[in-house]
């Protein structure tokens, strides 16, 4: 079983967001593996442990993403590939990323590709399905369970809280939803081993792409922070008075009831 994981390095969930020069300020921010990609890494490792084969983790980004790829290797992935697009393209979009990944994967004979269902920074949820379409393989999004029996795959897909059991066959791309598994923490021996595992760095040239091929199809023209919410009103007094005041405020001030 030849399993690939698509991984993005993202801002730590808890980071406060600040702007400088109209862009998100990354200075000093903590970065993590996008949480939904972490489920993807864990699932791929579990699949490999049963089915055999190798897990390759692929990330498109700059060299800083090496840290997150090493973490995935420490969790148990076998090898990692960092496709460094920084030199060639500044403002790529989901098309750009998907195109790079698909181009890299097209001759890899991947049996299973697992991605996160959404990245918590850009929040688009496009890359997984776009890659599948480019590779001409089916995709199933937001899955919470995966079982493989030969080339037959049974997944459970979360649809706004309802669930669907779906059958498909390999090759297949799935995107991970929370609930799929509990990602392991890298163990100390895992971290030691990860240092020696192969991590290949590629540039666009290496996969026969040039800037024109990955020209984004959307453009961000402005980034802004939501208007600062005024500190809310925390009510005081006897509880029944607070409750009456709240109901009055919701009617007369907020006018929502």
């Amino acid at each position: 079983m030849n399993t690939y994981v698509l991984l993005k390095r993202t801002f730590d969930t808890e980071e406060t967001i600040q702007l400088s020069n109209g862009k998100i300020n990354e200075e000093g921010a903590e970065f993590i593996i996008n949480p939904y990609d972490e489920y993807a890494v864990e699932e791929a490792i579990q699949v490999r442990d049963v089915q055999g084969g190798e897990v390759t983790v692929v990330s498109v980004g700059n060299e800083e993403a090496e840290k997150q790829l090493r973490t995935a290797l420490a969790m148990g992935a076998d090898q990692a590939v960092l496709i460094n697009s920084e030199e060639d393209i500044e403002n790529g979009d989901q098309y750009t990323t998907a195109k790079i990944i698909a181009e890299y994967l097209k001759d890899k004979a991947a049996d299973l590709i697992i991605a996160g269902n959404v990245a918590i920074d850009s929040g688009s949820g496009q890359v997984g399905p776009r890659v599948a379409e480019m590779l001409g393989i089916p995709a199933i999004t937001t899955i919470t369970n995966l079982e493989i029996d030969g080339s037959r795959v049974t997944v459970v897909r979360d649809i706004e809280g309802d669930s669907e059991t779906i059958e498909a066959s390999l090759p297949l791309l799935v995107t991970a939803q929370q609930g799929l598994n509990e990602p392991r923490y890298p163990s100390l021996p895992g971290i030691m081993k990860a240092k020696k595992k192969p991590l290949e760095e590629l540039e666009l040239d290496d996969i026969d792409l040039d800037e024109d091929d990955i020209e984004p199809k959307t453009k961000t023209i402005e980034v802004f922070l939501p208007p600062k919410k005024e500190a809310g009103k925390v009510l005081t007094g006897e509880m029944n008075e607070q409750v009456s005041e709240l109901v009055q405020l919701l009617r007369s001030e907020a006018k929502v009831i």
Binding site: Q94, E160, D162, T218, V234, L235
Partner: protein, 323 residues
């Protein structure tokens, strides 16, 4: 501006979802003096055509087939691509729902088009259609335009105004027959969680419970409050994981993203993943016994106290003023 825009009418349990009317609102703006064409895909959807027209479609194209009874990416892509092929539109707008999130990137990729996901606002500026969308779990926003391909977007429920329903509007409803073949994923089973009453992602009032409700029974007063307010009950991941309620009630990054007029958070700490799903609500009320809980940072009104004391009082008070 004059552009032809397609809007996919999403059908659930035999009726159109509200977000499709909102998508229609966005499409009207995008179309300018151009035509808005509603698209209905399913096994028996013809009868819903007029409703799409009442909400702003100039005409409707339907694709009906037994294989379209349940959504699958392959079958719906084939149907929608056939309509796109026939209509040659300048843009497509649909809801940012489970269906929209799955289908739109597939189609965008197929057509080598840009796609703007999860838009909360749309405006025409300088000859471009500009979409606003939340990023970083709602901690920031970006304005985006399409630079290549279709004007293609999915819109977050409850953010963009639908047009007033006008039952005097009429338009042509035509059907397109599409041969659905080679569907590579087969649905074996669907488990629908019986969510009573109002659809969470479209509710105007939501009463949500977290781990602070302590148990299944703890949700009873919340349900009663929701009923008094004509709203829906939601929950945090904490409450779902603890099995106090079903995952279909989960609000947040992993669950539903909601934008009600009024969100009442009871015993929810306000983790960022939860805020990602509700911080855009128009008015937020927090009830939490911990004055330091982060939920108070996004709340418009807060009561520091025991929810089991506060919620029953609220039910009484609301019931009294509703009379």
């Amino acid at each position: 501006m004059s552009r032809k825009i397609l809007v996919l009418g999403e059908v659930r349990d035999g009726s159109l979802r509200n977000v499709s009317f909102e998508a229609m609102g966005a499409a009207k703006l995008a179309a300018g003096s151009g035509e808005v064409v509603g698209v209905l895909i399913g096994d028996a959807v013809q009868s819903l055509g007029n409703e799409l027209i009442h909400y702003g479609a100039d005409r409707v194209v339907t694709v009906e087939d037994k294989q379209l009874k349940h959504y699958t990416s392959d079958s719906f892509s084939q149907a929608l691509l056939a309509v796109i092929d026939q209509e040659n539109p300048a843009g497509i707008i649909l809801g940012h729902t489970a269906l929209g999130k799955d289908l739109a990137p597939r189609i965008a990729s197929k057509l080598s088009s840009g796609l703007i996901s999860d838009a909360t606002a749309v405006e025409e500026a300088g000859g471009h259609l500009v979409f606003t969308r939340p990023i970083y779990s709602g901690k920031a926003f970006e304005k985006k335009v399409i630079t290549d391909g279709l004007i293609f977007a999915t819109v977050r429920p409850n953010n963009i105004a639908a047009l007033e329903k006008d039952e005097s509007r009429t338009g042509e409803i035509s059907s397109l027959s599409v041969e659905i073949k080679d569907v590579r994923t087969i649905i074996k089973d669907v488990v629908r969680k019986a969510t009573e009453g109002v659809d969470l992602s479209e509710a105007k009032v939501i009463v949500a419970g977290g781990r602070g409700v302590k148990g299944k029974e703890g949700f009873e007063p919340l349900k009663e409050l929701a009923k008094v307010l004509g709203g829906a009950v939601g929950a945090s991941r904490g409450a779902c994981d603890a099995d106090y309620c079903d995952y279909s009630l989960q609000i947040g990054q992993t669950g539903k993203v909601v934008t009600p007029d009024l969100y009442i958070a009871c015993g929810i700490s306000g983790a960022i993943q939860h805020l990602a799903g509700m911080s855009n609500s128009k008015v937020i009320v927090a009830i939490n016994k911990d004055p330091e809980a982060s939920i108070f940072q996004v709340a418009d009104y807060g009561i520091v106290g025991d929810l089991f004391e506060v919620v029953p009082l609220l039910i009484e008070e609301f019931a009294a003023v509703k009379q």
